[in-house]
């Protein structure tokens, strides 16, 4: 196998290397239930990363995801007594709406997505703060269990949220590989001008990507709200950077057209392993940030396929 062919496999090789490395230092780490739990715990973050993948795949970025998730935790908690289980649908639609607005601002008003999503995120944050009355809110336990028992607990030892995340992954994978939308995303990411000249409605597809990202962000927020049985306009803080890192470290570079949702799965697992490995390697509290940064640089250095990225900006 040549190096060229091997490159494609670098992300999961990196993941495996990390796992083996940490496992060698503490064999407890390799216990199946531990690995299962590690994967389960990253599920919510992974769902958000999954959505962001589509935007990055088109060469943009979505910085509004965390704010949308924050807002969703609040809205979900508020709507649960009124709408019951259909709260989930409403939340996802609202998330998609915010994503769509980001997409509109970015594609139609030509504001770079970095700024557009940051700004729309600010709006989402305001909505969340306003709706919550600037307090943490709690879900009624009975109502939660009535409407959302399918989101919590385990099936055969596997956390339900992990199953949901996997279902979403399969959905995203089908979207990416098997649908016209996914094909259009690929074309736009790899060669936007050619896509335009082929008569694709590039603007619409881009807005769709942002809307999908918003919907996934809302889903992540919803999962988190149900898991924590409440909501607050700050609750999903700390999601954004790890989610973006998961996308990037998985091998979907910001230049677009390369990578995909499977890469994000690997990236999210890499993030989870790095994070958890700090416990197993007993990294002192004050050194954890440095450790994260340095391992991240190493992981990214291994996972990006530079052959497909023309200039390194």
């Amino acid at each position: 196998m040549t190096l060229e062919k091997l490159k494609k496999h670098f992300p999961w090789i990196t993941l495996l290397t990390l796992v083996v490395f940490v496992g060698a230092l503490d064999s407890n780490f390799l216990r199946p239930e531990n690995l299962l739990q590690l994967a389960g715990d990253i599920s919510t973050l992974f769902v958000m990363a999954l959505g962001i993948t589509f935007v990055i795949y088109l060469g943009g970025i979505d910085l509004s995801a965390q704010s949308v998730a924050n807002m969703t935790t609040v809205l979900a908690t508020l709507m649960l007594p009124i709408f019951g289980a259909s709260t989930a649908v409403i939340c996802v639609l609202i998330g998609a709406l915010f994503g769509f607005v980001s997409g509109f601002v970015s594609t139609k008003l030509k504001v770079p997505s970095f700024i557009a999503t940051l700004a729309v995120g600010g709006i989402a944050l305001s909505v969340g703060q306003f709706a919550s009355g600037q307090r943490a809110l709690y879900m009624d336990a009975v109502l939660r269990d009535q409407s959302f028992s399918w989101l919590t607990g385990n099936i055969g030892g596997i956390p339900r949220e992990m199953i949901i995340a996997l279902v979403l992954l399969v959905g995203a994978l089908i979207l990416e590989r098997r649908t016209t939308i996914g094909r259009a995303f690929k074309a736009i990411g790899a060669g936007e001008l050619a896509a335009v000249a082929s008569g694709l409605r590039v603007g619409r597809y881009k807005m769709a990507a942002f809307a999908i990202s918003g919907a996934f962000a809302a889903t992540a927020g919803l999962l988190f709200a149900v898991k924590l049985s409440g909501g607050s306009p700050e609750m999903a803080n700390g999601f954004l950077l790890p989610a973006i890192v998961a996308v990037l470290v998985g091998g979907t570079p910001l230049t677009g057209g390369v990578g995909g949702v499977l890469n994000t799965l690997i990236g999210a697992l890499i993030v989870a392993v790095i994070r958890t490995s700090m416990l197993y390697l007993e990294i002192p509290a004050t050194a954890q940030q440095i450790f994260f940064g340095v391992v991240l640089i190493a992981a990214i250095a291994f996972t990006i396929d530079r052959g497909k990225v023309r200039t390194v900006k």
């Binding site: 503490d26 407890n28 780490f29 216990r31 239930e33 531990n34 739990q37 590690l38 715990d41 990253i42 919510t44 973050l45 703060q129 919550s132 600037q134 307090r135 943490a136 709690y138 336990a141 009975v142 269990d145 988190f224 709200a225 898991k227 924590l228 049985s229 409440g230 909501g231 607050s232 306009p233 700050e234 609750m235 999903a236 803080n237 700390g238 999601f239 790890p242 989870a272 994070r275 958890t276 416990l279 197993y280 007993e282 002192p284 509290a285 004050t286 954890q288």
Partner: protein, 369 residues
């Protein structure tokens, strides 16, 4: 064996669900006492001890950790034996870290934790209980979550009732202003419990001083620089009207003070704050800050870890303790210019030594909702 264990745990969870259901109805109280004792487990030998908290960039949390370390040393271990879990303001990381640690230690764990956001307390406690480890919480938990619903494993919850002390600082501020005039306020992250309680304290005090007017109250998110910017803007908006400033914590007060210093107003407009950090105490002695409230995070950090540990090793059985020993308020000390020097000598320059087995001595009683 594991099948039986699973069954018992499942039962415990079902019971909790039932409890919630019945708590809605009239039979709630009776049910609660019926199922008071959860599944008691044998004591853990030499559990790992961990503190999970928000960040290391804040003197408050540093004091918490120092207390935790002091406790760890008191049982003949080294400081490094205290495992630090830092959530960086992320509930998601907080929960994942706890689960990972539970898995690593296989449940042989005594955990002290502030769960970052109150809704996060339930999943954390449930995860700990499921693994048979022991947890004591600090600050954040929802009102419907109680240690006694989880048998021994959810050992205790400590918080501080900030309403009263905040009312006291506000009163000191109003009196310094001669009982009349206008003030501005700076709050913490709006949805945080302490931020809400401290604001309530201010409101309570205002009721007693009808001539005091609150011009505006904005959240500066506990952040020094944000507070400086907001204070500067207040000065533009209200000009000389501002006769006093109420800050929900010390770090924001520093920002307020620097915004005033830039205008040559430092020390001229009275400010009250909260937390009792060393710098704040110095500022009180210098006359630039009027009052703050010390919550003794050092003791809080130590005793929370101590409770979890001693419950884990079986020194005491939590389920046999009264409710006021499972949910209690920590001590608060009001610091003004009169007692600042004394306070500094006692708490800042020297670290008081505590008996980490006197779990409830300094506490100020049960938490009321």
């Amino acid at each position: 064996m594991s099948f039986i264990k699973k069954f018992i745990e499942q039962e415990a969870i079902n019971r909790r669900n039932f409890l919630f259901a019945s708590a809605m109805g009239a039979g709630g109280l009776a049910a609660a006492t019926m199922f008071k004792a959860g599944p008691a487990r044998a004591a853990i030998e030499d559990p790992a001890i961990a503190w999970s908290y928000r960040d290391r960039t804040n003197p408050y949390w540093n004091a918490i950790v120092s207390g935790g370390e002091s406790f760890v040393e008191s049982i003949g271990k080294s400081k490094a034996d205290l495992i630090n879990l830092i959530n960086e303001g992320s509930s998601e990381k907080s929960l994942s870290d706890v689960k990972a640690l539970l898995s690593k230690t296989n449940g042989k764990l005594a955990l002290a934790i502030d769960t970052n956001d109150s809704p996060n307390a339930r999943p954390v406690v449930e995860a700990v209980v499921e693994k048979g480890a022991f947890v004591s919480t600090l600050w954040n938990k929802t009102a419907d979550l109680h240690p006694w619903d989880f048998g021994d494993n959810y050992v205790s919850h400590m918080a501080w009732s900030d309403v009263g002390p905040a009312e006291q600082t506000a009163t000191i501020l109003f009196k310094a202003m001669g009982g009349k005039g206008a003030i501005v306020g700076l709050g913490g992250i709006a949805s945080n419990n302490p931020a809400i309680e401290r604001r309530n304290g201010l409101d309570n005090a205002m009721k007693k001083f009808p001539d005091i007017q609150l011009l505006d109250y904005q959240a500066a998110d506990w952040d020094t620089q944000k507070a400086a910017t907001i204070m500067a803007s207040y000065l533009t908006r209200f000009g000389d009207e501002v006769k006093g400033v109420f800050c929900a914590n010390d770090t924001m007060a520093y920002g307020v003070l620097e915004a005033l210093r830039a205008e040559g107003l430092a020390g001229q407009i009275p400010i009250v704050a909260y937390d009792g950090n060393a710098q704040a105490v110095d500022l009180i002695m210098a006359g630039e800050l009027l009052a703050t409230v010390y919550t003794n995070p050092y003791w809080g950090g130590g005793i929370t870890a101590a409770l979890a540990y001693h419950a884990a090793v079986g020194t005491f059985k939590p389920s046999e303790e009264p409710h006021e020993h499972r949910e209690f308020n920590g001590p608060t000390i009001l610091i003004t210019k009169d007692d600042a020097e004394n306070f500094k000598k006692q708490y800042v320059d020297a670290t008081p030594s505590y008996d980490w087995k006197d779990f409830w001595g300094p506490s100020t009683g049960a938490i009321t909702y």
